[in-house]
Symmetry: C2
Subunit: 229 residues, 2 copies
């Protein structure tokens, strides 16, 4: 939106072009800093430094820190939505779709949990509500659509027969996408590489952890009653 002057190609850019470019530079710097460190840990001066501006210059493009953060998040969520909808549209079978979702998500967004916290705790009520809606539309809805398809196809268990509702499945998958901890790549039980991680999550989500002979003993959700040896 608001891209008027594409007339003079290669000519000296108009003031509007320059302003738009500066705005983009700010958004890019802010995205990197906010995503890595969270809302509170990033100062407006750091963002300005990262794109060669003075701190007060930011306020020419964004009314305050919160609005800048909201703009970053809305851009980020839009990228997610596009990627997830693209994966969904490919209809490849649930296992492969989930694998692609898992590979796609963490590259765009390192620390999902931090984002949730900031949305819920660092913004005023109005901005919070706005971003909450964007989050549900961009992440929950596309993921839930994938699970809903699986149910309608009969590949996944229906919620009416002990299955998990699509929206709930979306939230649980999102939870598992958060990286184990810190960045010490020690023993994570094989969760180190993205590929292993994807396989484990898909395997657990679709097949469960039960051994085949133990299956359908506990179908109603009661005690398994297994003892030692």
């Amino acid at each position: 939106m608001e891209v008027r002057t594409l007339a003079r190609r290669g000519a000296t850019p108009s003031r509007a072009d320059e302003s738009a470019e500066t705005r983009q530079a700010i958004l890019r710097a802010a995205r990197e800093l906010f995503m890595a460190n969270g809302y509170r840990a990033v100062s407006t001066r750091q963002i300005a430094d990262a794109c060669g501006l003075t701190q007060p210059a930011l306020y020419r493009h964004f009314s305050d820190k919160q609005e800048l953060y909201a703009a970053v998040l809305e851009e980020e969520l839009d990228t997610m939505r596009l990627g997830l909808e693209r994966i969904h549209a490919r209809n490849l079978g649930i296992a492969e779709q989930l694998r692609q979702v898992i590979r796609f998500m963490p590259t765009t967004r390192q620390d999902l949990a931090q984002m949730f916290h900031d949305i819920a705790h660092e913004l005023d009520q109005e901005t919070h509500a706005r971003l909450q809606v964007a989050f549900e539309r961009s992440m929950i809805a596309p993921l839930a659509a994938i699970f809903a398809d699986g149910i309608h196809n009969g590949v996944l268990r229906d919620p009416a027969h002990g299955g998990v509702p699509p929206v709930a499945a979306a939230y649980l998958l999102l939870g598992m996408l958060q990286r184990p901890t810190g960045h010490t790549d020690r023993e994570r039980g094989g969760l180190a590489s993205l590929e292993q991680r994807a396989e484990m999550i898909v395997s657990m989500m679709l097949h469960g952890l039960l051994a085949s002979d133990a299956r359908d003993n506990t179908a109603a959700g009661h005690t398994t009653g297994s003892r030692d040896t």
Copy 2:
């Protein structure tokens, strides 16, 4: 540790008693604030106010803000460890153990994700390493022990035969324990109540989401290839 004077019961408390009580009051106030809002969002003055002290008085009991936070977390992690080990010791069958874990965890700790972030990003290298170890010993190890038992009992699939390693399963379960989002109790696909939540997580972790007739088609982890209708 360091509880010397239990001699005079009911008498005027010694200075050491008073000091220990003050320390506990600080820890209690700090725990509530840190757990609800995160490390950075809580000021030392807020903590002092919450227990009727002036801010500099905190430094009689803790060398700095970071040490106070570390003390809170270590106490919290210890509570977790005790609870999880108790559940494990009950050996009730994997389904019931998981249910109890899910019911136990969020009451003690509302926002696990925030804790991870603070440990990784807000503390110096030394404190980070110390708490990382405590976290793995208090949360990952007990959870992994539950899954390891299940594998040894033959209830859970062995990692050598497509199962998920215990430590990886522990991390995935932890991820799913984080509450959906904010505190708007709207549509969460049935994840609203703790009890429903527990049932869904257990059902997905143990049985998977696949419909029974679709099972073992995708066992090797390749495409399911389901199309519409």
